[in-house]
Subunit: 274 residues, 6 copies
C-alpha cells in the first residue's frame, strides 16, 4: 500500500514560463526512457519479485521514489505552461512571429490537458507499456534498469543544455545527479548478481545443452566489409568468465541450408501452381 | 548497401509441425526483445554512428548478422506451420479436442499470413519501433544492447524448455550460444568505453554543474517500509569511480515545496472559480 | 444499411486558409475525444445492443449523425488547407518567418494526404479503437458517452477561443451547441436507467455477494497527507441510494498480508538461489 | 512524494493456481478500464490540478490508493501462476488435453515475465496512455472517472462470475465493493460541481456565443429509420437546467452546402486535370 | 449527411453459436484489411476528394455501403456469441475439455464487450488509422483500394474454409462475391486513370527532373545470390508506357560514397573523443 | 544470410544542413509508406514465400536493396542535422525568430537520437508492423507492393518540391526514378500472375461456391445521393475476365433482416430487463 506526502521530493521553481520547453520536457516524462518508464519498470519488477527480499525492498524503494519524480515533472511542466491561454492564439494570429513560436508548442497542452502535463512524449505519442521490462530474472532486469538510467540521464543532460532558465536547470541538475547515483546503484546490484549467477543471463541454462553450438559460439562474424571491427576486445579478447577466447571470422560462410518450404494446402488459397 | 546469400546462417530443420509452438516462437521474432528488435537497433545505431569507425563497423557486422536471424526464425515458423490448413478447422469443429488445440494457435497464421511468420509477438501485437534505442551515445546504447541480448537469451532459454523437438532445440541452442557471445561482446565494448568516458553516461556532463545537487546525489532514499535494502552494495558501497560513498537515508524527508500552480486564464474553460 | 446525402449537416465556410489551425482542428477529428471516437462509439454500442429497442434506435440516430460530423470536420480542414503547396516550402526556405510558421504545421498534410484531413490527432497520432467503449451495459456506456461529450465540448470551446475566423467559429458554435444538447441527452438517458437499474453499475451484482467486503465499502481512505478531502460530499455524505453513510478514514492501516510469492521452477531460468 | 508499506491494502490468497484465470485477470490490471488506468488517470488529474485544494487532495488520496490496487492485482496474478513452468509445456506436448488448456494461457506469462503480471490486457496488448483523461476541467474529468469506475466494476463482476475460487472471489468482492463506493464518490463530487458550474461542460462557454446555433441546439435528429427513439426523455423532456425543451426532428433535412473543395496546386502531384 | 435503415444489406443468420469462430471473424471486422479499414479508407478518400465529382460520388457510394458491412459483421459476431456467459466458465473449470475450448476464445468478448463485437482484430489488437491510405492522388489510392479488396477477399475465403456453418458461409459468400466485384471496380477505375495520367504515380512529376537518375532507372539490381529473378518480365521486359527496356544488373556495384558523418557538438553529450 | 558493403547504393551529399527538412524526410523513412515499410514488406514476403523460386529470388533482390535505402535515408537525415546542437536552443531563446524555426523541428532529433535518424514518421510516431502486408498469396501481395511504391513515389515527389537543396534533390531524384521502375516491376509481375491465376484474388475460390451470391455480385449500389458515379467503367462495363456485366442499382433496397439479437445471460451483468 502507498501513501502520499504533499511536498515534492525536490524544489521545482521555474524562472519564467516557456511553452516550447514544456513540450521538450514531455520527453523526460512520457518518452521511452522518461520517468513514467522507470516508475512502472521498477514497480512491476518489485511487485513481481519472487523470493529475493533484499532486491524486492530495494526495487520498492526506488520505484516509489520515481512516482515522486513523475509528480515533479508534472509540476515543472505546469509551471512552464503558466499563463498560456487560447486567447493568445488570437493575438498570435495577428503577429506572425508569435504565431510561429506558438506553432512549435504542443497543441494538446492547450486543447486537451488545459495546461497540464500529458502522459506522452515530446511529439505527443502516448506512453505505452511496451517500453518497460520485467522478466523475473533480476540480472536481466537490472541491466534494463542500468540502460534506462543511462539513456535517461543522457536525455536530461541534453535538455539541460537547451535552456538557461536556472529554475529548470536546478530541477534537471537534481535529476542528473540522482541518475548518476542510480547508474551506480544498478552497477553495484549487477556486480552482486554476476558474482552469484555468472555473467551470462540466464546463468542457469546448462552449458552442456549448448555443447554442439559452442563450436561457433565465440566467433565474431565479419559480415560488413572492412575489418576495423577486428580491433575491439570482442574480437580478440576472452570471455569475461574465462570460458573461451573470441575469434574473428573473416569472410564467414553460411552453415545452413537453402530453405525450401512446402506449398500449402489448397484451402489456404495462396494460389500456388493453380 | 547489402547483399543476400541464399543459405541460412545455421541449419533450420524441425522434426514435426507444431502450430502452438509456432505461435510461441513469434515472441522471439517480433516481441519486444525479439530478433526484429536487435536487428533494427544495431542497424540504426550503425547507420547513425558518427566518427567512431571501429564501433560503426562492428555494429554493421552484427546488425547484418541479425537480419539473417530474422530470416532463420521466419523459416522456423514456416516449418512449424507446414501442413496446417483452414480445412483442419472444419475437422476441428467435429472433434472438441482438436478444436481446443487449434483454439490456442494464432488465428492470423491461417487467416492473414497464409502459414507465414508475422512481424508480431506471441499475442499478435505488431512490432513497433518504440522497442529500440539509438541515442548517439555509444556507451548508453551498448548498455541497451547488453540488456536486449540478456532478455533475448532468457526468452530463448524458456522456449527451449517448452519443447522436445530436437530440430527446434538445435536452432534455439545456436541462438542461446550466440546470445551468450553477444552478451560478452557488449560487455567488452562497454569496458572499453567506460575506460575512456567514465562509467556514468554521459561522461561529458560537467561535474561542477551538478555541484549543488551533489549533496544528495549518493543517498539511497528508503521510501519503502523495511530496511532489507540497506544490505546491498548500493547502500553501503562507494561509487565505482571513487567519487564518493553511498549513504542509506532512513526515513527521508521531502526537500521540495507543496506545489501550488496558478489557476489558468478564463479562456481555457477549466471552470475554476466560476 | 446506410445512405448518404450530398449536403453537409451544417454549413462549413471558412474565411481564410490557415494551415496551423488545420493542424489544431485534427484534435477534434481524430483525437481521443474527437468525432471519430463518438461516431465509432455510438455505432458499436448500437450494433451490439441486445433487446432494448428504444435505446438501440437512439444510438443509431446519433451514431449516424456523427458520421456526418466527421464529414464536416474533414471539409473544414480541407478548406483551411486550401492553397497550401509544397512549392510554398521553397518560398519559406528563403524567408525565415514563413519557414517558422510552416514549421508549426503538420508535415503530413502536405506529404501524406495531399491537403486532406487525416484520421489522426493534432500531433499526428493515428486514431485507434482503444479510445472507445462498448460494454453491453447501457448505463455504463451512457456514462462513457456523457464523458465523451463533455471532454469533446471542452476541446471545441478551447479551439473556438484560438481563432477569430468567423466561418470556423460558426462551425464550432454548432458543434458546441450540439454537444451541449448531447450532454443533456445522455443525462436524460442515464436518469431513466438509474431509475430502473440503480445507480451503481452493474445493478445486477447481488448485494449479498459483497457482504463481507461491505464493512470497508463506504470508507474514504485518506492516503495523501492533509485532510482537505474530508470536506467533500464523498466523505461525509450518504450513498445516493440510501444504502449507507460515508466514513472518512484518517490514517488508514493496510488490511492485507505482506506478499511472499514462491520462487518458480528451475526451468523458468529466473536464476533465483542458484 | 510517496511512501510504500509492505502490507497489501486487502488480503490476497488464492485457493489454487489457474493460469487461464491469470490471463483473464490481466484485463482488470492492464486493460482499458483496468487499475493501471484509474491509477494513472487520478494521479495525472491530481498532479495537474490548479487551485482547487479540496479536489486535489481527494484525487491524491484515491490515486494513491489505486497504486496499491495495481500491487494487489500483480500479487493475485503471481499466485495464480504459481507452479507454472516451461517444463509443463513438454508434458503438455505429450497429452493433447493439457496442451489444449495451456494453449489458452498467455505465452508471455512464461516466456516474457517469468510468471509475473504484465502491464497488458487479457490479449497481451500493452497498456497505453491513450486510455486516460486529464483535461484540467474537473467536472469533465469526474465524469471520466465515473465512467471508468462503472466500466471497471462491470468487468470485475463478470470475472467474479467466471470462477469459483473463493480466494480470488474475496479479492474481487473487495474491488466490487470499493468500485461501488468510488462510483458514489464521483457522483457526489459531480453533484457539487454541477451546482457550482452548471451541468454542461464547460460551464464557462458564454451562452450568447452559441446564440445562432441555438435554434438547432435542442433538436433530436431522427437519422435512423424508425421512431422508437422518440420515446426517451431526450426527445420529449427539457434541459436539466431549464434552458429549453427538446424537440424530435422527424425526417430532418441537411442545413449545409454540398462541399466543393478546390483542386490543389500542381506541386502536390494529386494529378487532377492533367 | 448520412441516414440509417434498420434492415441489414444482406441476411445474417448463423446455424449455431460458436465463440471460437466469433474470435476469428474479428479479423474480418477490425483487422488490417477488415471492413473497418475499407469503410474508413473510402470515406476519407471521398471526404477529401478535390474536384473529381464522378470519383467522389463513387467513393461515397461504396464507403457508405461499407459502413453497412461493419454493421453486418457486428451482427454476425453477436449471433455467434449468443448464449455465452461467464457462468459457463465455472462449468468449464470442472471439465478440462470445455475449459480448453473456452481458453481459445477472446476473453474480451465476455469481460469487456458483454457478447458484442469489438473494434479489434482476431488477437484483440485495436483497429488503428495507420492501416488506411488517403493521399489525395486517386490513382495511388485506387491501388490501395484494389490491394485492400484483394487481401480482404483472401481472408474471407480462408475463414469460409474454416467453418461448415451454412449461415455463416452465406454471409461470407456474399462478402466474397462483393469483394470480387469491388476488385473489378477498382481495376476499371484504375484503367480510366492510367489512361489519363500515365501508369506511374504521380503522373505529373516531370520526366526531365528525373533525367540524371534515369541512367539507372530501369536496372534490376541482383542483390540476392542466384539469378532466377532474371526470368521475370520485370527483368527482360519493357516499361508499360514504352519509355524504356528493363536491364538485369548481375553483380551490381554501389554507386555512392562511404558515409562519414561529422562528430556532433559537445553539448549533445554523445561522448565522442572525450 | 546477409552481407554489408560500406558504400551507399547512391551518393548522398546535401548542400546545407536543414533540421526542418530532416523532420520532413522522416516520413519517407519511418512513415506508413516509407523505406522501412517496403524493406520489411518485401523481406517478409520473401522469407515466407513457399514454392515459387523466381518470385522469391526477386523479392529477396529488392528487399535487400531496400535495406540499403533505409541506410541512405539515415545518412541523408544525419547530414541535414549536422551542426545542430542543444546549445543552439539557448541562442534561440534569445532570438524569437530562431526559436520559432527550431520550434518546428523534431525535438527527439536532439534529445533522443543525438542527431541521428529515428525509426519514426515526420510527426514522431514510431514505425509499426501494422503497416505491412505478407499474405502468402503473391498476387495480393504484389498489389500491396504496387500500392506502396505508388504512395511512396508520390510522397518523395512532394518532398522534392519542398526543397531547393540540389544534393537532397539528387537523392530524391534517384528514389523517384527507382520507384517508377519498381511500379513497373510490380505491374509486370502482376500481369504474369493474373495470366496464371485470374484477376480476382484469390483465384482458387470456387466460383460455384459464390453461386447464390452472384445474383448481386455485379451490382453497383448507389448509396450516396447523386448518380455521377454511373458514368464510370465500374458501372457500365464488364468484368475484366468477361464473367459478367456490371449493373448500376439506383435506389437499392436492403436485402437482410432487421437484426434482433437475444438478451444475454444474467451473469454478463448487462442489466437488461432487471
Amino acid at each position: 500500500m502507498f501513501r502520499h506526502q504533499k511536498e515534492l521530493q525536490f524544489e521545482v521553481k521555474v524562472e519564467r514560463p516557456d511553452a516550447l520547453l514544456a513540450r521538450q520536457i514531455q520527453e523526460l516524462l512520457g518518452g521511452q526512457f522518461g520517468e513514467m518508464s522507470v516508475m512502472m519498470q521498477y514497480l512491476f519488477q518489485g511487485f513481481n519479485c519472487r523470493g529475493e527480499e533484499k532486491y524486492k525492498d530495494m526495487l520498492m524503494d526506488i520505484g516509489t521514489e520515481e512516482i515522486g519524480h513523475v509528480e515533479m515533472l508534472c509540476n515543472l511542466i505546469s509551471q512552464l505552461l503558466d499563463g498560456v491561454s487560447p486567447a493568445e492564439q488570437i493575438e498570435a494570429a495577428k503577429d506572425p512571429m508569435t504565431a510561429a513560436i506558438l506553432g512549435g508548442t504542443n497543441p494538446q497542452h492547450l486543447i486537451v490537458s488545459g495546461l497540464g502535463a500529458t502522459p506522452k512524449d515530446s511529439n505527443g505519442v502516448p506512453w505505452n507499456a511496451g517500453y518497460i521490462a520485467s522478466s523475473g530474472n533480476l540480472l536481466a532486469d537490472f541491466r534494463a534498469n542500468l540502460n534506462a538510467e543511462s539513456q535517461g540521464r543522457l536525455q536530461v543532460s541534453r535538455v539541460y543544455e537547451m535552456t538557461t532558465d536556472e529554475g529548470v536547470r536546478d530541477v534537471l541538475r537534481n535529476m542528473i545527479a540522482r541518475d548518476r547515483y542510480h547508474q551506480y546503484q544498478w552497477m553495484a546490484a549487477i556486480a552482486e548478481l554476476e558474482e552469484k549467477n555468472g555473467v551470462a543471463v540466464p546463468g542457469s541454462f546448462p552449458p552442456e545443452a549448448e555443447m554442439d553450438a559452442q563450436v561457433h559460439a565465440y566467433e565474431f562474424w565479419d559480415l560488413s566489409e572492412g575489418s576495423q571491427s577486428a580491433e575491439g576486445l570482442w574480437a580478440k579478447g576472452s570471455a569475461p568468465d574465462g570460458t573461451g577466447d573470441f575469434m574473428y571470422l573473416k569472410d564467414p560462410k553460411p552453415l545452413g541450408q537453402v530453405p525450401n518450404p512446402k506449398p500449402p494446402h489448397f484451402s489456404t488459397h495462396n494460389d500456388i501452381n493453380i
